[in-house]
Each structure stands twice: as C-alpha cells, then as structure tokens.
C-alpha cells in the first residue's frame, strides 16, 4: 500500500529525514518509535502533505501512485488520514459541521451523494458511542476548550467516521491516563481491517500493550535504525532508546569501517 524509498526531507534548510525506507501492506499495523526529535512527526506530517517540509530526495508510492505529487486534500480523499499529535482548534465551527464537511468532501471526491444532516447524525452518533464520546461534543467548537484526552478521542472519532485506507496516528497516546488510553486503543483496534494499514507513531511502548503491532521500527536521527516484531518495543522499554542508538551507531560504524577498510585489504 505504502512504499517509501530513500526519503530525505528538510525544514528551513535543516535536514530531518535522512533516507527512510519503509514498506507497509494492507492489513498491517506498523509502530514507528523513537526518541524526541528523531523525525517521527516530520515523517507522519510529510506523508499527509504538510507543505512546510521540503523533500530533497526519495520517492513515496501510495497504492501505486506518487504520493508526494498529491495535495493534502487529494491524499485525504484517497484515504490517507493523519491523527494529529496536537489537534488544531477552530473557534466558532462545531465539531458536527466540521466532520460533516469533511465526510461530504471525501464522498464528493468519490462521486458519492452527500449525506444529509439526518443520515450524518445517525452515523456519527453510532461512531461516538464506540469511542465513548458524549453527544454534547458534537455542538462544541472543534477542539476548542477540549481536554488533552478529549482532543485525542476526537481524532479517533474522525478516523472512525472517515474510514481511511491508511491511518497514521501521531502520538495519539501521549498525555492520556490509563482509562483514556484503553478507550483510544479500543478505537484503534476497532479500525484494524485486512484492507487498511495503520502506522502508529509513538514515543512509548505502553500503547503497544493494547494495540499489538505487526512490525516495530525505531527511528533515530532521521533514519530507521532497527526494525523487528512486537518484542522489539518491549526491549526498548526495558533498555531505553540509548540502547538502540549505541547499537545502531555501532552497526553504522562497523559498516563504515568495512567500507573504508575494504580497499586497504585489497
């Protein structure tokens, strides 16, 4: 579904991503972990089309198409969804209006009839029950005055209403207490589907206790330095990121040594 090759990207001339390679297939759940400033959010937002990053090299294919040439709204309509680490407030616009506008924009793109207010409300109410949200949240302005947990749950609600093919969740677990975390995890597990891929971007392993990934990748200084199964996350939790870093640096150093030493041996 998603194929990233040698992706380099920078912001304000500063290189953040330094050669990412990643293959994600339908039905898979990938976790991307890494310390602060490793490039996790950059990767997530870049895939969703944020214009503040400049791609300097590499290609990204999504369902066989060049993802990087698509506008953010095209990507969204084609099924790429980003749950934001810091969901944005839109004063004066109700959650209901925002979601209905978004859903109908996507439907229109696929030449489907737009949902009227009644159909939309019955759909969104059913989804709200699933993520444990109160009806009153529909009338509140988008994310305005929401608690951290409410904002994150609102992202999961949008995910559940829009039903994307590729869901990228950027630190959706951060700042949540254990009950809220379980609710969010249930919401994400609910979205697991053979036709859908999910990328979880997270700093901590604890979300992965509830949403067990098929693959775990560790991002450090703009590169994926280690990939493995769900147990990789557990090792990280035990040893900390420095374990991967030293490990990764050691392996990079070895590669470099081999590269420089090889001609001498000849």
């Amino acid at each position: 579904m998603l194929s990233i090759k040698n992706l380099h990207a920078s912001i304000d001339g500063k290189e953040i991503l330094r050669g990412i390679d990643l293959e994600v297939k339908a039905g898979e759940v990938h976790a991307i972990m890494g310390p602060n400033a490793s490039g996790k959010t950059t990767l997530a937002q870049l895939l969703a089309g944020r214009a503040i990053y400049t791609v300097t090299a590499g290609i990204v294919q999504y369902l066989g198409r060049d993802l990087l040439s698509m506008t953010p709204e095209q990507r969204a309509c084609e099924g790429v969804f980003l749950a934001f680490q810091y969901p944005v407030e839109i004063p004066g616009i109700s959650n209901a209006l925002f979601l209905k506008t978004a859903l109908n924009a996507v439907r229109k793109y696929h030449l489907l009839p737009e949902l009227d207010a009644m159909d939309f409300l019955s759909l969104v109410r059913e989804r709200m029950k699933r993520v444990g949200m109160d009806d009153a949240m529909l009338l509140r302005a988008v994310n305005e005055g929401f608690s951290g947990g409410e904002k994150k749950r609102n992202e999961i609600l949008q995910l559940s209403v829009l039903q994307p093919r590729l869901a990228i969740l950027d630190e959706t677990d951060s700042g949540l207490d254990i009950d809220a975390l379980k609710l969010i995890a249930d919401g994400i597990n609910d979205m697991r589907d053979p036709a859908r891929a999910i990328i979880l971007v997270t700093h901590y392993q604890r979300l992965l206790d509830y949403v067990v990934p098929d693959f775990v990748h560790v991002l450090s200084q703009g590169r994926i330095v280690k990939s493995g199964g769900a147990d990789l996350a557990k090792n990280l939790e035990r040893h900390g990121y420095s374990w991967v870093d030293t490990d990764a640096i050691a392996s990079l150093a070895t590669q470099a040594n081999q590269a420089t030493q090889a001609p001498q041996a000849h």
Binding site: A51, T71, I90, F98, A105
Partner: protein
Amino acid sequence: MTTTKQLDELINREYQHGFYTQLEADTIPLGLSESTVSLISAKKNEPAFMLDWRLKAYQHWLTLSEPTWPNLHYPPIDYQHAYYYSAPKSEKTGPRDLSEIDPELLRTYEKLGIPLKEQQILAGVAVDAVFDSVSVATTFKQKLSTLGIIFCPFSEAVQKHPELVQQYLGSVVPYTDNFFASLNAAVFSDGSFCYIPPGVRCPMELSTYFRINAKNTGQFERTLIIADKDSYVSYLEGCTAPMRDENQLHAAVVELIALEGARIKYATVQNWYPGDKNGKGGIYNFVTKRGDCRGDRSHISWTQVETGSAITWKYPSVILRGNSSVGEFYSVALTNHYQQADTGTKMIHIGRDTKSTVLSKGISAGHGQNTYRGLIKVLSGAENARNYTQCDSLLLGSKCGAHTFPYIEVKNHSAKVEHEASTSRIGEDQLFYCTQRGIPPEDAVSMIVSGFCKAVFQELPMEFAVEAQKLLGVSLEGGTG
C-alpha cells in the same frame, strides 16, 4: 508554498453583482451648486422647509473640508465631477404596483436575489428598493398600514407625512454634523422612511435594497426610522453596485430614533463593488449612521457585515440618552485586494444605568487595510454606565494590515468600561488540519472565517446570516500572499 498559491487563486474571483442595467435615465447636469440643490428639491416637489434645510446644509458644507484623520488613503475627490441626481426615466410618475415597474429593472433585482414578488409574503420581507436615486417599489405597504406603520420612500414621506419628517429629520445627525452628512443633507435624493406607532411590534423584517446603477452617479440616500413608545422594528439594508473603473461616491445618512421602551434592530449587509484586484474602481462609502435612544429603556442595535466598497468610512453609533437604555454594535468588516475600511462605533452614555456592547471582527486579506475606530464616552451624569468592547482581527497573508484605535473618555466614577482586543492569523496549521480531512482549501478558509465571525452572524436575521456567510466566501478571494 502550495497552500498560499491556492489561496491566491481562490481570492481572485470576480465580483458577482457587476452587471449594468440598460435603462433610460433622467439625470441632471454634472456638478454641484445651489441650483443643483434647488433642482433636486424641485424634482421632488418638496415643501419649502425641505428646500430651506437643504440650502442651509449646502452653505454649511461649503465651509467644511473633507476629514483627513481616517486611516484611509485615496486621491482627492472632485465633487464637481459627479451627477447628483439620476432616476430611471420610466419611473418618473411613480409606480402604483409591481406590474407598472420596468421589467428590466425587476430582472436586475432578480439577479440580486431580492424577493420582489408574491413569494415575499412567505419570506415575510417587505422591500423598499432604491435604484439610483428613487424608490421603485414598496411592497407590503398595505399590510403594514393597517397597523399604523408607515414604511415608504423618503420622498413619499415628505409629501404625505411632512410633520413627522420636519420633527425628526436631522434631529440625530444634523446637517452640520460632518462633511459627508452635510453633503448628503444638501443633495440626498431618496431613501426610506419608517414610523412604528406606540406599542406596535412590526410583524415582519423591513428591508431596503440599494443599488448604484448609473455611471458617475453619487448615491446619497437618507433613512429615517422612528420607533415610538414601546414599539419594535427590525430593519435590513443590503447594497450592491455594478462594476465600474471609476470610483463612485456613496454618502448616506441613517437616523434612528427610539422613544421610551422602544427597540430598533438595524442590520446591514454592504457589498458595494470593491474595485478590482489591483485596486481600480470601487465605491467610496462615506456613511453616517447614528441612533438616538431618546427614551428610557430604549434599545438600539446595529449589526453590519461590510464586505464591499473600495473605501469604507462608517461608525454606526448610539446616543444613550434615556436612562437604562441599551446600545449594541456588532460588526464584521472584510477587506481584500486594496480595500480599506476605517469603521467602528461611538457609544455616548448620557443617561443613568446605560449599557453598551461592542463586538467587532475585522478580516484583512490581500493588501487590505482594516481599522477599528471606536469611542466610548461616559458623561458625568451617566451613573452606573457599563460598556464591554471586544475587537478581534484576523489576518490572511502577510501584506494586509489590522489597526485598532479605541478611544475611551469617562467622566463618571461609577462607570465600568472594558476593552478586549486580539489579532490572529489564519494558521497554516488550521488550514492543514482542514485539508488533511479532505476539505478543499477555499472551503477551509471560508469555514475558519465564518467561525471567527459567528458571534456577529448570530445577531443577523436568519436569511441575512446565510447571505452574509456566502458573501464572505465570495469576498475572500485573494487573501494571502
């Protein structure tokens, strides 16, 4: 950045009311003199007191010079290079009903979406339409008159109710008030007149639609609304003008009088031609609007949505004379391309326990400059006066400007005056959030802006709120850069 480029394209849409109606017009010679004033008065067959008042106004105007204090920049206006009277010729004798009106004119109104036909009854809107300088059709007059409500063109009121006109004309905005108000008093050609008798609640929204059609014509209309004791009226005013390369002058005066216990709600959606995207053409809109809460417990509210005009100079104000009277001002002003707006309000607290609320939302896009200028004045006798002012500015792009000039003069210690102001920019993050959900950028901008204006739109009557929202979408073309 791609989002910026898309926004630019979106903001560069065309003015949608820029058509010109071919009609034969009765126009008096170019320029302004005492004989112009007399000629206008004669054309209107006015009684002597009107001509006298106009001539005094003209003489006074000659002693004034154009104000230079507004934060507005435009080349000098040649007042001798304008026509001060233009009337569609076929309307000279005045229509008796809609069937007598030039069908071409009716089609113009249809394009503007003004409900002039029988469906109006369903819509509950009575329209007094002013086309250039004379009022062409007043609907629902019969229904209103059974309640004793007078709602008619100003010129008709002068003929039929001269005592009311003479008593109230200029009592809120005297002809000496300011340069543009003096000019208006001398040459105004028509407008709307409304009188609500004591205890009557006007059962429908009253509405006037203004449109400047003829070339080089200044439009000087004058509206006078009197709400007698314990009465209520809600009044809507909408404005459009065809596209022209030259700047056209519009200097209107609106006077509102609320007697004891009366309430007047006055709403404007102003969409005069704003000029093209390079700042060429457009209406110069110099308007004096003032309400007088003359009686105790009276209440006047102004709501305005200003999206048009090259230049807007307008401060709808309330004189809170009666004890416990209430004044309100709700405003959305949008400037795009090279539009400039210097707008705000004056709340003059004279009576005891008077209250005023000011809520101003300014949106600047393109090279637009948006100034809020407001005066809160509490006189020494105004015990327990209260004012709350909130002024918010929203910027789209980096070439536009927002300015706030709040003036506060308080001469009574028991007064409480609060002022809050904020300036924000439509964030790239807000836009990205919306587009990432599949919403096209132009819709996203409209949505964010309408959210910003929501508190003001809530004050508009339903059908106007919908129109205002659409207008904002259209007017926002070209905002970031």
